[in-house]
């Protein structure tokens, strides 16, 4: 189940510049990664990826890795998946916040994803990379601001593709719920997955801060219970 686009128009701005800049930066960094030899790339991941055990020990790059890890990706498929979600959900969240506040929220979501991972899995030694924590924050913001928004979604029923418009509330809720079992399992048994489930949940938790970043008009609409 993949999101294809958000069918609602922007209300306050004409173009989501910051979302495009974030996609461009992530893409540029992946292109740079692809030029590196395998050993060097592993070194980059160790130093600039976010590792909870190092964070607790106050070793490694600290906040530098918190910031850099959300711009590193493990491959083209990893980047494409993340950027698709960022484009679909980021556009309207940026519209509701304004470019710079949206950027701060994005970085905040990336940071909370790191913090929650460190809290839940303090001994994890695998460096976490990818924008998915921050993007889950953006999805969470979308969930809060536009629960009745419609997301055109690509489904494959056996091998036949369909693209119904699904309510954002159910779409995001589905993605949130499927993070919980593996996250709980990794917490209980100390299993280290290749996917940062706790990072996703941590990023999502940043959605509680979204009212602090909204434009005054958008905030007034949200508080008046009319579509943002």
């Amino acid at each position: 189940m993949l999101p294809l686009n958000d069918t609602e128009p922007n209300r306050y701005s004409r173009f989501p510049y910051m979302t495009v800049v974030l996609i461009a930066v992530n893409t540029a960094i992946l292109i740079w990664e692809l030029t590196l030899p395998e050993d060097a790339l592993r070194g980059v991941f160790i130093v600039f990826g976010s590792t909870p055990s190092l964070l607790w020990a106050r070793e490694g790059a600290g906040i530098i890795s918190t910031m850099t890890s959300m711009f590193l990706h493990g491959g083209i498929d990893h980047l494409l998946g993340n950027m698709l979600f960022l484009w679909v959900f980021g556009r309207r969240v940026e519209d509701a916040c304004g470019a710079w506040r949206y950027l701060i929220f994005y970085l905040l979501a990336g940071t909370t994803s790191d913090l929650l991972t460190a809290l839940a899995l303090p001994r994890q030694s695998i460096p976490g990379i990818g924008a998915s924590g921050a993007i889950f924050g953006v999805m969470g913001a979308y969930f809060v601001l536009f629960p009745s928004g419609r997301i055109r979604t690509l489904w494959f029923i056996t091998f036949i593709p369909t693209w119904p418009r699904i309510r954002a509330f159910w779409f995001v809720l589905y993605y949130l719920l499927i993070q919980i079992p593996p996250a709980v399992f990794s917490y209980m048994n100390g299993v280290q997955y290749g996917t940062g489930y706790w990072a996703h949940l941590g990023g999502f938790s940043a959605c509680i801060f979204i009212p602090l970043f909204m434009r005054p008009e958008a905030f007034a609409r949200y508080m008046s219970d009319v579509p943002v």
Partner: protein
Amino acid sequence: MREDALLQQAMSAVRAGHELTARDIFLDIVEINPRNETAWMWLTGLLDDLDDCIYACEQVLDINPNNVNVNQYLEQLLAEKKKRQEKQNLYVAEQVERARDLVKSKKHDEALELARSLAKSGGASADVWRLIAELSSDMDERLPALENLLALAPGDTQSRREFERLRHFKNNPLELAAMYEEQGNIEKAIEAYGIAALKAKSKAEQNDIYWKTVQIENLRQDKIAYFSPAVSIARLTVGPPLLYFMLLLVHVGMNLLISSDFLLWIGFFWTLLGGYMIALASVRSHSRLWSLIFKDVSSGGTPIARFFMASAGWILVLLPFVLLFVSAFERLNAFIFSF
């Protein structure tokens, strides 16, 4: 010759008890010859208004300063005028006090009506004009009220500042509309945007005003709640310090008690101040800061003032982040050397 005939005619009218006719004839005489002492003397007794009588006496004394009777009569009139003035002042003061009490009990409309009636009766003091200027939401009423107030109390700097601010808005309806919008007064804002559209210098400006009007009309239709700029500024201030605090948590390995670098903690307050400045620049609000720092008459912040405020805010916000990253770089170097 004609003057003498008119004088005879006027005196005959007085004797016959036709005082109004006589007064009109005497007025005609002083119009023909303003130095006719007899006509002015008669007028001192025939005019109704106290001020007019005083004026007539002054004219007589101007022509003949030795007229003892008129001099005494003028003194009586002036004493009477003073007495009446004191009575009037006392009455106005009492009414102003009453209006202030009405304001205290949130009966603004009644207080304004009272002030208006005092102003209409002609006995308005500076306090009455001040009340009208404070209570009225109509700029066309507030501006003349402040003008009258400043004529009576030229040293009132606060009122002068307000007068200049209103005059500025009068000449810049777009700013006025934005101020009304900021206050949540949608009706007035739409009205002011209408005036601004008439004064627009280009088609593009007219289009912008049109879209702005559509936007706030939608707000009215959708019954959007009003939030004061202070709420927006407080809300938007929190973002940067929140991010800083989260990063600081990461930097100190979740242990807030062992942070060795005191400066990093100071940084939190810097980001708070910077965040406030950015929020102030991004939300349209009236603040004394604009007039204090940038000498902005409207107190709403000109685009240049906002640009400087936002730039200074960003510098304040970024400085602690840079310090934090410098501290993290030192740790990163140690980490790389350990490989």
